[in-house]
Amino acid sequence: MRRILYIVEKEFKQIFRDKMMKPILFIMPVVQLAVLSYTADFTVKDIRIFVQDQDISPLSKQLINKVSASDNFTLLGVSYSYEEGINEVEKNKIDVILTIPEHFSRNFNSQRKTALFITADAINSSKAGISINYLQNIIRDFQVEQAEKKGIQVKPGIEVITRNWYNPDLDYKFFMVPGILVLLVTMIALFLSGMNIVKEKEIGTIEQLNVTPIMKYQFIIGKLLPFLIIGLVEFTVGLLIALYWFKVPFLGSIPLIYMFTFVYLILILGMGMFISTITETQQQALFLAWFFSIVFILMSGLFTPVESMPDWAQKLTYLNPIKYYIEVIRLVMLKGSSFSSIKVNFLVIVLSAIFINMAAIRNYKKTA
């Protein structure tokens, strides 16, 4: 036990003596959390729209006004010609063209069937889909309004009433901030531990340690503890920013999230240690750590829902620790879930943590 403490003391001294380390540990993550949370927003706003008005009637003017009054759309031009609109799309200045055909007003007023055309730049397919959807809603509203004005009975449809639970204002940041916090904690833990033992290999001190009577588990635990502490501090700083800056609600239990984070960090640090034992240079370790973080992040459900991934990819995500943690942090923070709702995730993380740390201890060879 005393030996472990001597290693911990040495690691802390080395980490904090490194001038770059303090900003890396405490400024970089804060900046990332602040900046990414504002930017990683997938709600579609400010859709640039162009209207081709071939009708040029009071009714078409009213429709154009309604579109331009919407928060989601910015009207950037009205013209009789379609060409003009499509040119702007090609210059990437317009996202959607709404075409109001000739006789639109006449047909509408005489209750004949009439059509509007929407042309969307579908390079970003989900954005195009959402834009069309918004525009259709506006047109539907417009239709009802105009009909009521004229005293025309609109055919009764099914009215759908929606209620957004857990995030009633649909604030995207509530969804992203906890997830980004997970990323930061993961990256710091994985990179710090991944580079650590291999650094001793590179500078040669590992050889001196290998001739000492230190046990492998003492060595690994001594190396892991400082990063565990740093990881928890980092998590706390991030959590405070999430709660007090972004005002993300915290409905669940704080001890529960700390318990999960504790085990999760042991898992990630074990992965880092494992990377450190199988590599010979910090460069190799860096690339491996980078590879795993990118794959885990993209397959974590942070940016894209796991449910919409192909079947084989969904199966792969069972191996992804970030996925489990993001699920848990969202459940506990936003829904106030209790231990029983996250116990499967907890069990998976505990078992993986034990497994990977045993592998790291086994793999750290004091003897060649």
């Binding site: 005393r2 030996r3 001294k13 003596r17 040669g204 001190t205 009577p213």
Partner: protein, 241 residues
């Protein structure tokens, strides 16, 4: 364990694939002696030393160091040996005192022991003024002396030194050898590899490795007589040719 022998090696061999790095070497090292381990680059010195310090398994043969088997009793063995590699045994980003504290702690010395030894060492080396200086700011010659002192911090039965004086000036080398003599007087057996043939002459007994085999073993006088040479340079050239 034979009380007067700290190393007993018998047919110790290490193969890497087809290449035999150490080929059936048999020798003993007596307690308290300074044993010079010589050889050209690539003769197998470092490989042999790694096996004797328990960080490399042997392919065949056996050896006991400080009474412990090098393959099966490594953890006990490591408590009783010291080792100074050619470079990098100290942490450059820690101070003199912090390095000693760390290694003392790893070897299980008590807090008081660590403090007492730190004081003694500073005084012996005359380095009181740099106790709180980072190792990277200390000149190489001093670093080597500090590294040696750290290697014998836990008063091992035997200390292994891998080319401890390469790259340092003649005065520092002389001072370094004084430290080695002091350690030997303290009862620590010294196992040292070197390139410098004049240093070989400071050793009680000298062995010569040539292509993995131990070609010669004896005191300076014995070797000079046997190979009819006037100094170790000549012996070395005759053997390593």
């Amino acid at each position: 364990m034979t009380d007067d022998k700290v190393i007993i090696a018998k047919d110790l061999t290490k193969k890497f694939g087809d290449f035999t790095a150490v080929d059936h070497i048999t020798f003993d090292v007596k307690r308290g002696e300074i044993f010079g381990f010589l050889g050209a680059n690539g003769a197998g010195k470092t490989t042999a030393m790694k096996m004797l310090t328990g960080i490399l398994s042997s392919t065949s043969g056996e050896a006991k160091v400080a009474g412990f088997d090098i393959n099966t009793e490594r953890n006990e063995l490591k408590k009783h040996i010291g080792y100074m590699s050619q470079k990098f045994s100290l942490y450059e980003d820690l101070t003199f005192k912090e390095n000693i504290k760390f290694y003392g702690g790893i070897y299980g010395l008590s807090k008081e022991d660590i403090e007492r030894k730190t004081g003694e060492m500073l005084e012996r080396l005359g380095l009181q003024h740099i106790e709180n200086t980072l190792i990277k700011e200390i000149p190489l010659g001093w670093k080597q002396k500090i590294a040696f002192s750290v290697a014998i911090l836990h008063h091992p039965q035997i200390v292994f030194l891998d080319e401890p004086t390469s790259g340092v000036d003649p005065i520092t080398r002389r001072q370094f050898w004084n430290l080695i003599y002091e350690a030997a007087e303290d009862g620590i057996t010294v196992f040292v590899t070197t390139h410098y043939m004049d240093e070989a002459e400071y050793c009680d007994r000298i062995s010569m490795m040539v292509q993995g085999k131990m070609q010669a073993l004896g005191s300076l006088k014995e070797l000079l007589t046997k190979y009819q040479s006037k100094d170790m340079d000549e012996v070395f050239i005759k053997l390593a040719r």
